[in-house]
């Protein structure tokens, strides 16, 4: 089971918008039921990150992060998504 943290400025708007897309990618790659996603404000992400396998955020990577970071803005625009998809699938394998 992978614990994924999903963050944006408020923890509710753009993170909500990209959540479905990320779940679809994971499910279609055979990870259905093998991950949990929690949403938070990016301001809280660093402190929470010790308990998570990686963070996807629509903001810049927060300082003092204790887990890998994957940029999430591409899931809002559809531009250059492959690098983030590859990074996520790579982290799921670890």
């Amino acid at each position: 089971m992978k614990n994924i943290l999903l963050a944006c400025g408020s923890g509710i708007c753009t993170s909500t918008a990209v959540r479905g897309k990320i779940e679809k990618i994971l499910d279609e790659s055979g990870y259905a039921g093998k991950y949990k996603i929690n949403q938070c404000k990016v301001g809280e992400a660093a402190a929470m990150s010790v308990n998570y396998d990686f963070l996807i955020a629509t903001t810049m990577a927060p300082q003092n992060l204790k887990c890998p970071f994957v940029p999430g803005v591409c899931f809002l625009t559809g531009v250059n998504t492959q690098a983030s998809i590859d990074a996520i699938l790579d982290l799921m394998k670890q």
């Binding site: 408020s10 708007c13 753009t14 909500t16 625009t77 531009v79």
Partner: protein
């Protein structure tokens, strides 16, 4: 599925055409004031939008053109709504997820959202429109506020 817009107040009175602004702050203030005048947003909405944009910029370079999706916390919102501005000349916004990458924004979608989890389908449909081939450029070319409103509603119909 035009019902995705059912929980959102939106009509042509929340559309601004040819919005003129030199800077993003000016563009944001003008569109936020439309939501405040309608009573949709509280007086605290505009300063909250400006602060939020500085901290977490919302410019998005999409396939066809750049948009911005300014928004802020639910406490500044009376009623869920979306306001749209087509900018007369593109205005520079910072790209979301970056410190200082600038994008030339042509369309602003200002979100006044109270219950984002209930709006997941709406938000996803909006992002889907950003990714699709010519939805944004069609919207940006509309000549009247009614056309913009109809075009925007069309984003949610064929899903």
């Amino acid at each position: 599925m035009s019902n995705l817009l059912n929980d959102m107040y939106f009509d042509e009175s929340l559309v601004v055409l040819d919005l003129e602004a030199k800077k993003s702050e000016e563009a944001l203030t003008k569109l936020a004031s439309v939501l405040q005048e309608k009573g949709v947003a509280k007086d605290s909405f505009t300063p909250a939008i400006l602060k939020r944009e500085k901290e977490y910029p919302t410019g998005l370079m999409c396939e066809e053109l750049a948009v911005a999706i300014p928004h802020t916390d639910a406490e500044h919102v009376n009623k869920q709504a979306i306001a749209i501005a087509i900018l007369k000349e593109p205005v520079q916004f910072v790209q979301m997820g970056t410190e200082s990458d600038m994008v030339d924004v042509k369309v602003m979608f200002m979100l006044a959202i109270k219950e984002p989890h209930k709006q997941m389908d709406f938000l996803q449909a909006l992002m889907f429109a950003f990714m699709s081939k010519d939805k944004l450029s069609t919207l940006a070319k509309c000549k009247t506020t009614q056309e913009v409103a109809e075009c925007f509603k069309g984003f949610f119909e064929e899903l």
